[in-house]
């Protein structure tokens, strides 16, 4: 079946996104021409077809999923074959096999899981390949004699998945361990609660139709036998944390839970020992079970793939080519580098350490550190930073800082500090709970003292009734239930909320801070305009000529031009003697003529005068944060190609809406002032701060917070990570770096800006529901506490009233779903 049969003609054959942009291209797969949104998708589709795995598309469409264009494939895969590097993450297995965990980028759905597992198992030497869909992990085992790890990674890259090995123990061993313990406790409480139900049914039936004391007592003792381990094993954390809170004089939610469970248990035990009345062992177990289920759901929602710092570490290359005195190169682990060493950096490689260029000429992409979208030209004596990516030239670098002293390490440190110092909004429930607990305890004590004048038995019953009926269940569940429901609704809308507490903060924000590149703009250059000097050459010819020169270069501008030519299906003339002029442009022989392509300085070098019209256009484009590339031959300029980083769709509407809601808007960017000002003109009134370093961004946010603003930060780069960690609420785009997603509380799937208002509205709805729920449970308590204090609460009444209050709270939370549905309809004007 043709995968695109069910889709429109304009959508990408591979990923299903619109294939109408400038990057779109056409290619032949299985003898049929197909459209693709980018050349990456085309490549991936060809590999999938060649491997005979076409049914991947059937599976994909059966689930109505779409893919995203594949991530850029990592370039330096060979390093993973070195034993020294493998030691960091590989575990040896029996029979000489090796095992590793890989973090895979680009997994979207079950079809991807199938594709990866199938394709890898078909490789000779791979003995195990299992994908964990929820966590985007791949567990891999292979025979190193038969297949190299780099070959496996390359296979993954060809399929459109970027994979990096990591060491699971250090990264998430602890989180996993505590989650497991929670699961054990929950499972045990579940077992207790279920078995307790039998006994309760027997006892209830006995109450109505009569039961012999002998059996009743037996059932009481069985209840005791089940409730005791549940209370002390499953409920252990509540008891401990309640006790700890009491010692620190801080009344937490765990305290009423602990007191409620303990008193109910103690009362029932007392009743059992004296052989009469009703027992509530079932209440104890069910209560603990329900609360543990809530905690477990919360923990699952919060579980993060890996720590931000881990992802940042992955940016660092693991090996470097060290040069010795005689100029011999040896591959060594980055850890072995020392200040003063000289290293060789090949085109496309990551720079292993901070240092200075001693030889060579190249462009370096520093976007991850500075946010500057254009690669920076580096020649002798220029400073370079670890983790940045070398462009087209070969560089020799003298290492100055290694390991913890590099700029990258500094950012990692900044993120950790910011995460640690982030002022958490105190949860609404947390503020009410201590008062609630104190009042409940006082009332129970008062009830006890009052009824002591009658007799001890009545006093104990009444006081316990007060404690049981004020059961913190409803109060305790009001917040988690709202959070669970809202996160679910949000996920369906494409807003991934990674942290439940974020919801409360979302509703309170007063100021929105944007990053520019990749957030408000798409973050990559595209050919926006082609202008010819005279009629000898039309636009297509001009573009073909430029693409012929640029075809073999990897500079982003070169790629953008080549891509534009590919999209138009142009036939490129042959170019010879290609030469890159660092920081200026390229030149080459086409059809016997020397052709120059580059900026004004290159034109000056080539001795070409720029006509006035071209110069004006160049100025205009460059002030609009774009780049104008001039093409010259035979001593005169032939034309100009303009490249721009375009605004994301919906950026303007989003800003208008935010301003209309009275929120402050600020733009923070590492780009030039001029580019920032241009953006301001397009987007309307807003505060703009340009040429900022990562730490400046974080400082700027801290300054806003000092003014009493609650700041939402929207960003996507590694350079935004410290700012994201600092902001009250941080939102990352799905297309952004993994690090930014790890640092943020919310991720916008599909990178659509219009989802930001959804996120804010969900936060508001959640907070409103939490408030209503707190009111509901307080109202319930206000009605029933007096009744309980009067000693009028019978066991049956308590049994009915308690679940009723919880149900009210849960039902109200579920209403969020409907309210959000209405909001989305309104937004879309339907």
């Amino acid at each position: 079946m043709s995968p695109s049969a069910s889709m429109s003609k304009d959508s990408c054959h591979h990923c299903g996104l619109p294939a109408t942009g400038v990057a779109a291209c056409e290619g032949e797969v299985a003898g049929e021409p197909q459209r693709f949104c980018c050349s990456g998708c085309l490549e991936v589709c060809r590999v999938i077809h060649a491997a005979g795995l076409d049914s991947f598309y059937d599976r994909l469409h059966a689930q109505e999923n779409t893919l995203a264009p594949p991530p850029d494939a990592p370039s330096d895969l060979d390093q993973y074959d070195l034993d020294e590097v493998q030691r960091e993450f590989v575990s040896p297995l029996s029979g000489g096999r090796r095992g590793a965990h890989l973090l895979v980028e680009g997994i979207h759905c079950a079809a991807c899981v199938w594709l990866i597992e199938k394709a890898l198992r078909d490789l000779a030497g791979v003995t195990r390949a299992e994908v964990n869909l929820a966590r985007q992990r791949l567990v891999l085992e292979w025979q190193p004699q038969q297949v190299a790890l780099s070959a496996i990674l390359r296979r993954l890259a060809a399929l459109g998945y970027a994979a990096v090995p990591f060491d699971p123990e250090t990264a998430e061993g602890q989180v996993q361990c505590s989650n497991r313990r929670l699961l054990f406790r929950m499972g045990f409480a579940g077992f207790g609660a279920m078995n307790m139900m039998w006994i309760s049914i027997a006892l209830y039936a006995g109450t109505f139709s009569g039961i012999e004391t002998e059996y009743k007592q037996f059932f009481h003792w069985v209840g005791f036998a089940i409730a005791t381990p549940v209370l002390f094993y499953s409920g252990g954390p509540f008891l401990l944390s309640g006790w700890r809170g009491l010692r620190l004089r801080h009344l937490t939610m765990d305290l009423p839970i602990a007191i409620g469970a303990l008193t109910t248990y103690a009362y029932s035990l007392w009743r059992t020992l004296h052989g009469g009345g009703e027992v509530y062992f079932d209440v104890v177990t069910t209560f603990i079970f329900v609360i543990l289920v809530g905690r477990y759901l919360e923990a699952m929602a919060r579980r993060s793939a890996a720590s931000a710092a881990l992802h940042l570490m992955e940016l660092q290359p693991r090996t470097a080519l060290r040069l010795d005195e005689s100029g011999q190169e040896t591959r060594v682990a980055v850890r072995k580098l020392a200040a003063g060493d000289r290293v060789l950096v090949r085109p496309g490689d990551k720079i292993p350490a901070d240092g200075r260029v001693v030889e060579g000429d190249s462009h370096v992409n520093e976007a991850m550190l500075t946010g500057e979208s254009q690669p920076v030209h580096k020649s002798c004596d220029a400073r370079v930073s670890a983790g940045t990516v070398n462009g087209e030239g070969v560089l020799k670098i003298r290492v100055e800082q290694v390991g913890g002293d590099t700029t990258l390490a500094r950012i990692i440190h900044l993120v950790e500090v910011a995460q640690g110092s982030k002022a958490r909004v105190q949860r609404l429930a947390d503020r009410i709970v201590p008062w609630f607990v104190a009042v409940t305890l006082l009332l129970a004590a008062a009830t006890f003292l009052f009824w002591m004048r009658v007799d001890f038995d009545t006093a104990l019953m009444a006081a316990t009734a007060v404690l049981i009926i004020t059961c913190p269940c409803a109060l305790g569940m009001s917040t988690p239930m709202s959070i669970v429901v809202s996160t679910g609704v949000a996920a369906r809308l494409g807003v991934l909320i990674r942290n439940g507490e974020a919801l409360e903060s979302l509703s309170r924000i007063t100021h929105v801070v944007f990053d520019k590149t990749g957030t408000l703009t798409e973050g990559r250059m595209r050919v926006s305009r082609i202008e010819c000097v005279d009629a000898t050459l039309d636009e297509a010819q001009l573009l073909a000529l430029a693409a012929a020169l640029e075809r073999h270069f990897t500079h982003p501008l070169a790629r953008a031009i080549t891509l534009a030519a590919e999209v138009r299906g142009l036939v490129l003339p042959a170019a010879e003697q290609l030469q890159a002029h660092g920081g200026l442009g390229v030149s080459g022989q086409v059809g016997g003529e020397l052709v120059w392509l580059g900026n004004a300085r290159l034109m000056a070098q080539a001795g070409v005068d720029i006509p006035d019209g071209m110069a004006a256009l160049r100025e205009a484009v460059e002030s609009a944060m774009g780049v104008a590339v001039l093409l010259a031959s035979g001593g005169r300029v032939l034309g100009v190609i303009c490249l721009e980083d375009q605004l994301r769709s919906g950026a303007r509407e989003l800003l208008d809406r935010l301003r209309a809601q009275g929120l402050g808007v600020t733009l923070l960017t590492g780009d030039t002032r001029r580019a920032a000002r241009h953006l301001q003109q397009q987007l309307g009134e807003m505060r703009v701060l340009a040429e900022l370093l990562p730490e400046d961004k974080a400082r700027e946010i801290a300054a806003l917070q000092q003014l009493g603003e609650r700041v939402l930060m929207l960003g996507d780069g590694v350079n935004d990570a410290p700012a994201l960690a600092r902001a009250d609420i941080s939102i990352a785009m799905e297309s952004g770096s993994d690090v930014s997603m790890e640092c943020s509380d919310v991720v916008l799937m599909g990178s659509e800006l219009r989802k930001l208002p959804y996120a804010i509205e969900i936060g508001r709805q959640a907070l409103r529901t939490i408030r209503q729920n707190l009111l509901l449970s307080l109202a319930y308590n206000l009605t029933l506490i007096p009744v309980a204090m009067a000693g009028l609460v019978t066991p049956v009444l308590a049994a009915i009233a308690m679940p009723l209050s919880s149900l009210l709270v849960i039902g109200n939370a579920i209403l969020i779903r409907r309210r959000m549905g209405r909001f989305v309809e309104m937004q879309n004007g339907r």
Partner: protein
Amino acid sequence: MDVIFGLIPGMILLGLAGVLVFFWAVRNGQYEDMEGPAHRILNDDDMDELGGDPKRKPD
């Protein structure tokens, strides 16, 4: 009716056996990925999932 004195502890013991199985399952990583296996079972041409020869191509 005296039979319940034996049956109920027996029931609890059986339940405990279930708990032990659950603990084993958690330790064994059965709850690590709650989504993938549900889809994986539908990939019926993966004979190797059923314990067949991992390198055998589907027919």
